[in-house]
């Protein structure tokens, strides 16, 4: 079985600031084992 999650999350306001701290970033890599409750991704307020 498989689960696909589709969601909106914060991104930076401009293309130039794509690496700014407000952007949602995945904390996992392809092939990683994850468990319920572990963070898939995180973002920070500017």
């Amino acid at each position: 079985s498989t689960v696909v999650l589709v969601f909106q999350a914060p991104i930076s306001l401009s293309q130039e600031k794509r690496d700014s701290s407000s952007e949602f970033k995945f904390l996992v890599q392809r092939g990683d084992r994850v468990r319920v409750g572990e963070a898939l991704g995180r973002w920070y307020d500017q």
């Binding site: 079985s1 498989t2 689960v3 696909v4 999650l5 589709v6 969601f7 909106q8 999350a9 914060p10 991104i11 306001l13 401009s14 949602f24 995945f26 996992v28 890599q29 392809r30 092939g31 990683d32 084992r33 994850v34 468990r35 319920v36 409750g37 572990e38 963070a39 898939l40 991704g41 995180r42 973002w43 920070y44 307020d45």
Partner: protein
């Protein structure tokens, strides 16, 4: 070479039947039926050679051949017979569950009950866990995994008609996965039509449109002051192995507004199948939950597989999936249930149980 042999056989037959008594030229005249047979055999032989060559090319490209239907049926029958035998032999249960756990790397120490208390492999398969086995990350600015599993793919959906890659060369659209009535697809379809009639649009304009579409789907996050909305659209695909914990939890505080049930097939979803069966996730039976969280749109598609008998929703226990009647029309429209006739929906807290994959 087959044709040559046949030609020689036909010549020999002509010689035996008429060649001995008639003129020499008659021995080369074959009856119409023989010619038709030869042609048919030639066509069949050619087709066989063509199919063999295609299969060889596919193998060279890394694809493996799909399982034969009769093999699937036999495996399925054997599987259910085994399940029945195991369920009846109580003393066998711990050994069988132990073997299952070893084969699929399950952690038995996490199971909520002792092994002999599971009445069937089905119960064991969908076992709950001991309290505190899965601590939920409390950070309000994080999204947590809804399941135990392996991350297959993740990324951002940036364009109209965005596709999620299944494997290299096989992609499926997010609209096909979630359904035509989804928040996003309804607006996206109009957008896609506009784009096709205006080929001169620059990629930047297209990008802005796609963001507008996302924002319309969840107006709460639309910020008309900024040049672009605050939120992007992301996806994450997680595969559950047979030994994994098979319950699904809310990845965030989430207001589920719609449920969609697509009765479909139950192809396996292992690595081999993803490389072999095109549109695997869109073909398989699935339940889609769609709603809003504090950052906007959120949808979760629970996709069944060969070993999954049904998908059970904690928030809608009366839903029945994997029904034989619906299998007759697997490509029909999804059955939809709105949870928000009064705008409330089903409120879930981060980590709340949402659904479970049942076995058999």
């Amino acid at each position: 070479s087959s044709l040559k042999k046949l030609h020689k056989t036909a010549e020999a037959r002509a010689f035996v039947n008429g060649g001995g008594g008639g003129s020499k030229g008659d021995s080369f005249l074959l009856p119409g039926a023989t010619v038709a047979t030869l042609l048919m055999l030639g066509v069949l032989h050619g087709r066989r050679m063509y199919e063999d060559r295609k299969a060889e090319e596919a193998r060279e490209n890394g694809a493996e051949l799909e399982f034969q239907p009769d093999v699937k049926v036999a495996a399925s029958a054997l599987h259910f017979q085994m399940l029945g035998i195991i369920d009846k032999c109580v003393s066998l249960r711990p050994h069988v569950y132990g073997a299952w756990a070893r084969a699929f790397h399950s952690n038995l120490e996490e199971a909520a009950l002792p092994l002999d208390e599971y009445a069937s492999l089905r119960e064991f398969f969908v076992r709950t866990l001991k309290e505190g086995s899965r601590p939920i990350d409390p950070d309000p600015r994080c999204l947590v995994s809804p399941v135990d599993g392996t991350v297959l793919r993740f990324g951002e959906l940036r364009e109209a008609g965005a596709m999620i890659e299944q494997v290299k060369g096989f992609s499926y659209s997010v609209f096909s996965l979630l359904g035509a009535n989804s928040f996003l697809p309804m607006i996206a379809k109009g957008d896609m039509h506009e784009e096709s009639s205006e080929p001169e649009n620059t990629s930047r304009e297209k990008n802005k449109k796609s963001w507008l579409r996302v924002s319309l789907a969840s107006p709460k996050v639309w910020d008309p002051v900024s040049e672009r909305p605050m939120n992007g659209l992301f996806y994450c695909v997680i595969y559950l192995k047979p030994g994994d914990y098979h319950r699904i939890h809310a990845p965030a505080d989430w207001n589920v507004l719609v449920r969609r049930h697509f009765s479909g097939r139950l192809f396996p979803v292992n690595e081999r199948a993803t490389r072999t069966i095109r549109n695997l996730y869109v073909e398989n039976e699935r339940v889609v939950l769609e709603g809003l969280w504090k950052e906007g749109f959120m949808a979760l598609a629970a996709i069944g597989a060969t070993n999954i008998g049904s998908i059970e929703l904690s928030i809608e226990p009366e839903l029945q999936t994997n029904q034989a009647r619906k299998k007759l029309l697997p490509s029909g429209p999804p059955e939809e249930q709105l949870y928000e006739p009064d705008g409330i929906g089903r409120m879930l807290k981060k980590g709340d149980e949402v659904a479970a994959f049942n076995m058999g």
